[in-house]
Subunit: 396 residues, 2 copies
């Protein structure tokens, strides 16, 4: 229609999380809201050295237009790391550098989803994934998340539908719940996907942030025909570079390249070289070990505060890695209302509503434990416990 | 459909230009093909100093997630520059930082185009713009480009159609033709757009690269209600950062922000700060004056070579800025066939076909003069003249 926006924009809204982040910028506010890594552990000086080396040694070559797929050395590093850390054997040319995982989600959604296609989501699911898919007007259907992964009976039911197009999942330390798929659930999911010719987006930005338990292989290990495995440097190096990647086999990659060219030609090349240089000159494993140790400690403190201070009828997950805890308040209680009260007490979180596409989850909320130190966790969780107890007293 | 890509991908192809660029990497090949700025004039050392300063002074703050709109100082710089260079008065909050102009094109296309909407293109038009729009399945209609801009009678005809949604134009040193709209054509176009409530994408990456004639205001100056003005640092600083912007009024910006969040949250923040620092510490006007002088000289040499060596029945444009010349071969001659012969003689260009959406333009081609020095222009144009003369001898 003349003078009108496209139909796909009709139901799209600004990210609620990014709106909350504006509130969280007030220095008096303790924020458990964002999905921000802890900046105290960004490798600032090593990155500064890497940037200087790249511009000194590569000069103008670092600054020109560059190949769509991305820098070859960086892609080889990613391929090698999959091989050594989880036995996934992929050639570097099956890896496309993207602007963070978010662009990976958008590119895959763009090449797959026709209006009305069924997109199967974990419930709850990551808001950024929901938004990227929403642009292309699918019908969302949901699979409940249990403590060890999705309810596979429900997944199997959704998968047989002729309109079923793809399953979007975060099997490691899921955003928002922190839940991790068990080994057997991974195999079950792979079998259902294969049997029903479903595409699969395996969104895996937190894989390296495991602070307890055993590493498990990506589900993509069980079959790559229709799989898109998404990774990111945001959580293991720094998010300001907006640098992630998609692993996909050639037939899928061919479409991704077309979509990437139409979207922005290629990702920031200077930054690709800086990250590649950083990875070459530094011990990533040692760096990640530090982050794991810190996040594990912060998560332990947050759980201890919940156990000590929160009402017994508030449930919580016990993530083995990542950056998030998930709380379920007593039935009938509204996390959005709790949020309004909490803001006034200078503590924020993300209410569960935006992670649900079906209007459920009003009594749930997400807590981030990566971007606050011990003192902030103690103060913030004490404030939150008070707000919770008062709310429960008013609405028992 | 199960296991199938989305319908929007059916007719999408890889960028022909980016495929040609692979051929052009052979050091024996002289390339007039790419749209690459001359890397000899990238401000490598000033950018190196800026990068070092940013990481030394801002540290972790440069590396964290950042606002969707982009860095405030960088946006203010862009706003101020519009005001001083062309009298366009826009607040910094009407500017969104994008991954180059290409992402600007894709975001605007995404928020505007429903399948079947009419997108009015200059004929020929920029391949990247055609690709970004194609993803959203419009019907393309075309307006011939004359020496001083579009045939406004044809534009007016297309504009009244009820399905007409937007006009996509590059009024300065157009890619691919090098043509610039006259002052009167700009006003005429603005009036037609306004009268018919058309959206307008003013793609203006070359504006600062004028080496002769008088600066003219962006068409957006005549009305911002439905205008998206796109700019880029790729041609005045360096393209490897993938850093551009969109100017749009708040109602349009609101939708752009939603689309940007779903696409990649925000553009690379470190690079935004590096460019902002570079702009603060250096004289951009002096830098651009150098580029203008060099490109003007290279364009003059290329034209002189055409006049001296090319058959008289080959027509060419005389751009006042930018990076491209446009050749029209005698009727019936195929630029694609000429390309095949030229590659064997180690000189390449872009045949006109991919810039046309209606199968016309087979006897046209684009020459880039920014990314070759004088010696290369002399050798390359001599080779091209030989190939041309031989082809004309075979098919007179």
């Amino acid at each position: 229609m003349k003078g009108q926006f496209a139909g796909r924009m009709a139901t799209m809204q600004r990210s609620f999380i990014r709106e909350i982040l504006k509130v969280a910028q007030d220095p008096h506010v303790i924020s458990f809201a964002g999905g921000l890594p802890n900046p105290d552990y960004f490798p600032v000086e090593p990155l500064r050295a890497a940037a200087d080396k790249v511009l000194a040694q590569k000069g103008a070559n670092a600054l020109q237009y560059a190949p769509t797929l991305g820098n070859a050395e960086l892609r080889q590093f990613i391929a090698d790391r999959y091989k050594t850390t989880c036995g996934l054997d992929v050639p570097a040319d099956d890896i496309l550098i993207t602007n963070g995982s978010q662009q990976g989600l958008e590119l895959v959604a763009k090449i797959l989803i026709d209006p009305g296609d069924h997109v199967i989501l974990e419930s709850p699911s990551y808001l950024g994934g929901i938004q990227a898919c929403s642009l292309f007007q699918p019908r969302f259907v949901t699979v409940p998340l249990l403590a060890d992964g999705p309810d596979t009976a429900v997944l199997a039911q959704h998968a047989v539908h002729p309109q079923a197009k793809l399953f979007y999942a975060l099997p490691n330390f899921q955003n928002p719940t922190g839940i991790t798929y068990s080994a057997s659930k991974r195999e079950e999911v792979a079998a259902i996907l294969h049997e029903n010719e479903l595409f699969f987006i395996e969104d895996d930005p937190y894989r390296e942030l495991r602070f307890m338990g055993e590493d498990l292989p990506p589900i993509t290990v069980y079959g790559r025909t229709r799989a898109f495995l998404l990774g990111s440097f945001s959580k293991i190096v720094a998010p300001g570079f907006r640098m992630g990647w998609i692993v996909a086999q050639p037939e899928l990659m061919d479409k991704l390249i077309i979509a990437k060219q139409a979207s922005d030609l290629h990702s920031n090349y200077v930054s690709q070289l800086i990250i590649a240089q950083y990875l070459q000159d530094n011990d990533l494993d040692a760096h990640i070990a530090t982050i794991r140790e810190v996040y594990g400690r912060q998560r332990a403190l947050m759980v201890a505060m919940i156990e000590e201070l929160f009402p017994a009828n508030v449930q919580y997950t016990l993530p083995e890695g990542g950056m998030f805890l998930w709380l379920t308040l007593p039935e009938g209680m509204s996390a959005m209302q709790l949020f309004e009260t909490a803001v006034k007490r200078n503590v924020v979180f993300v209410p569960g509503d935006p992670f649900h596409v079906d209007g459920t989850g009003r009594n749930t909320l997400r807590l981030n434990f990566s971007n606050t130190d011990a003192a902030e966790i103690e103060t913030g969780m004490t404030r939150l416990a008070e707000v919770l107890r008062e709310s429960l007293k008013r609405n028992p």
